[in-house]
Symmetry: C2
Subunit: 284 residues, 2 copies
């Protein structure tokens, strides 16, 4: 497909897009950062878990000696709402190739006491310092051209879904049967993904990219909210400019929980991120 | 296959096997546990990362209000050697269905100062309280009968591999081409797994089961040590008695790092654990 059919002709540069502005942190002290979380990246008044991981990821990228997230594990404690938040980081280990850190994002209760929303362990490195060797059997997902996919803003979506206006998302119709009451039962979601202002992907936006498609639970015939318990993302290389392809698969729903395995591919056909999320779901 | 061909006729009960004895912790104070790590679960004088996760998992199972690991994320900091260690836990959140905790395992330097080996975030629940609903497209790995698989103690292994004596492991010959200099290039390892004393699997031994087969890197033609950076395990249901089947696949080696995706199936053909590990590997 042509980028022109999907992304805006004029793209916001990395560092100056909506994503950069809204995930920017203000240092309060060593390893401590303030942020005012806006409504722009919410679904049903809850801040998207992927965006939240990107915010915490940026804090750790500043605090740790290495710049890029290699593997990031997050456990979600309570729902994050728009408003002020603080990210507190700790450098656990600083090695030559990798450093490991921890971070928590807190908001405030009515008395001003901190309430923890998400806790993260992460190992960071320098993607640009890695050798080019690749041995892979992974293949990009087969997707119809973006022109034949369903614009998430045209499709069925909660009315209060501001994040959809920040994304450019075209979903594979084969994974949208649930919208017409005919879920495939395969547990798959696939689509083209970009940012609405054309800002190209970077390692931090990849932390969000794994968690912004509709839940695979819908394609399994499950309904309702699918709260994330834990989400771990690996960033495998710096993404090339242009649209991403995201494929998410659930193989096993059992006992009220499921895994969501996401892969993100860049315009150069490279696997740029992988994730697995463990979430609760209700039998619909 | 028949269990009789694989597991000993008389099995150590859960709670009284070698695994239970060697991973048992002594409470030092609230949420703090001592353990003397023996040589029994080492490879090349390093304590196996899966066994270590089981030790930390047992500490959290004692400290948290819920008994069973649902999803456990570990970042490995420094190699763990036989000798005394302390596990310090923190209860982050205690909910109705899930509780979330953090734990670190430390050893001691020559001055007695604590050196952190592994840090863990985990969400625990009660496997026996979950509904029986299952929707799955996952299928057990196709494995030859255990009788036609290669006993890990007969096969090619480092000479200093005490953990092999604690396990009963029969590897699919199709994934052992590397031992004869002919790796398949597929990045696969599969086999039957039990404990040598016949002790049946439980959620804690599953935390180890995902990390005791030979590295998939060998089947990709890579050589040398494959140190774990991060390992996240989901336990999906309580395993039935009897042998486990473990399948591990690597799809993408890039820039000196690879993922290892493990699935563990029980004798009732249920997917009992999933994991993804992010590890370093060298181009051989």
């Amino acid at each position: 497909m042509s980028d022109a059919a999907f992304l805006p002709a004029v793209r916001a540069p990395i560092g100056a897009g909506e994503f950069d502005r809204d995930s920017a942190l203000t240092p309060r002290g060593p390893g401590v950062y303030d942020i005012d979380l806006g409504h722009g990246w919410t679904i049903l008044d809850t801040v998207n878990g992927g965006f939240l991981l990107a915010v915490v990821g940026r804090a750790l990228g500043d605090a740790l000696p290495h710049p890029d997230p290699f593997t990031v594990s997050a456990h979600y404690l309570t729902a994050t709402v728009p408003g002020p938040a603080v990210v507190r980081t700790e450098t656990i280990r600083a090695g030559r190739t990798l450093s490991t850190g921890q971070a928590s994002l807190f908001q405030y209760d009515e008395n001003g006491a901190e309430v923890e929303r998400i806790r993260v362990l992460a190992s960071y490195g320098d993607l640009d310092a890695l050798p080019d060797d690749v041995r892979t059997t992974a293949r990009p997902p087969e997707l119809p051209p973006a022109e034949e996919c369903v614009d998430s803003q045209d499709g069925p979506s909660p009315t209060d879904w501001p994040i959809a206006e920040r994304l450019r998302l075209r979903l594979d119709p084969a994974t949208l049967g649930w919208a017409a009451g005919r879920p495939s039962g395969k547990g798959e979601t696939r689509g083209w993904l970009g940012l609405a202002d054309g800002r190209d992907p970077d390692p931090f936006s990849l932390l969000m990219a794994v968690d912004v498609l509709p839940p695979t639970a819908f394609d399994l015939g499950l309904t309702g909210w699918v709260p994330t318990v834990e989400l771990t993302v690996q960033v495998r290389c710096r993404p090339a400019p242009g649209p991403l392809r995201v494929s998410i698969v659930t193989r096993n729903f059992a006992g009220g929980f499921l895994e969501e395995d996401a892969e993100v591919w860049d315009s150069a056909d490279r696997l740029v991120a992988q994730s697995r999320q463990f979430a609760r779901a209700r039998l619909g």
